[in-house]
């Protein structure tokens, strides 16, 4: 985020919420790259491993588009290496400053998310690793299942607070409480 003088996370000051069956937390603003081109998911995964970005995950974001996300800040060196590895196949737009990730987990996670999205979240239709570009209420987001009861929501930065508030209300309705941060 070199053009912003002060680094200020969008969901700073939001304590995580936790209950027996639901947990809501803002994820660290590590890196989020928008990849566009005629590549394949496997190809991008291979290049991530090849450039030492083992902790990043690739999520399809529409026809010939992907988001590469991870919890760590990306060094200019890594970004350049990945750009060069994908040269001729795909372009990268660094959106680390533009999109925020929120994690919803717990036994009732799918139930809570289905209050806002119409995607079928049954494990047979949306297994681990699945991704969908969809809506939560009226907010566009990318929904990814990272575990059996573990989801990540990627949302535009300016909508992050609004989405987080909606999810907070839903989590509280399922018995979650603010956890001391």
């Amino acid at each position: 985020m070199p053009d912003l003088p002060i680094y200020r996370p969008a969901l700073a000051g939001k304590a995580a919420l936790g209950g027996e069956t639901i947990r809501l937390e803002a994820l660290p603003e590590g890196h989020l790259l928008h990849v566009m081109g005629a590549a394949t998911t496997e190809e991008i995964k291979a290049h991530l491993l090849g450039t030492g970005l083992k902790a990043s995950s690739v999520r399809p974001a529409g026809y010939r588009q992907w988001f590469v996300a991870g919890n760590d800040r990306l060094s200019a060196m890594h970004l350049r290496a990945l750009t060069e590895a994908l040269a001729g196949r795909a372009f990268i737009s660094d959106q680390s400053h533009g999109r925020i990730r929120i994690r919803v987990s717990g036994l009732n996670a799918a139930q809570v998310l289905n209050k806002g999205t119409a995607v079928d979240l049954h494990p047979s239709a949306f297994p681990e690793g699945s991704t969908a570009m969809t809506l939560f209420g009226h907010i566009s987001m990318q929904l990814t299942r990272t575990g059996a009861d573990d989801f990540e929501l990627t949302v535009l930065r300016s909508f992050a607070e609004s989405l987080h508030e909606e999810l907070e209300a839903l989590a509280v309705a399922h018995g979650a409480e603010h956890l001391a941060s």
Binding site: A61, G62, Y63, A118, A132, M133
Partner: protein
């Protein structure tokens, strides 16, 4: 209107994720076409009973333009294809 659209890229989604962008069967007249042809193209639209091809934009999903063939009487969707890929000849 059809309430579920099967996007070729995203799967079955509710119509709220899409924006209807109008008749997909009309074609743009040539630049030197007469005023009447242009008037038809810009202003006149049919209101067909039965099969109808329309542009739908998956605005809250993959953001691709689709061609949806649907029946305005039964609300049945007969086919959904990617508009740009169809124009280029089908394949990705």
């Amino acid at each position: 209107m059809a309430s579920l659209i099967s996007c070729p890229h995203c799967g079955t989604r509710p119509k709220e994720e899409f924006t209807v962008k109008g008749d997909a069967s009309i074609s743009r007249p040539t630049a030197d076409a007469g005023e009447e042809d242009w008037y038809d193209y810009v202003y006149l639209r049919g209101n067909p009973k039965g099969l109808h091809k329309e542009y739908w934009h998956h605005s809250s999903g993959c953001r691709r333009w689709l061609i949806v063939e649907r029946d305005t009487v039964t609300h049945k969707v007969h086919g959904v294809s990617d508009a740009a890929l169809a124009k280029l000849g089908g394949g990705a």
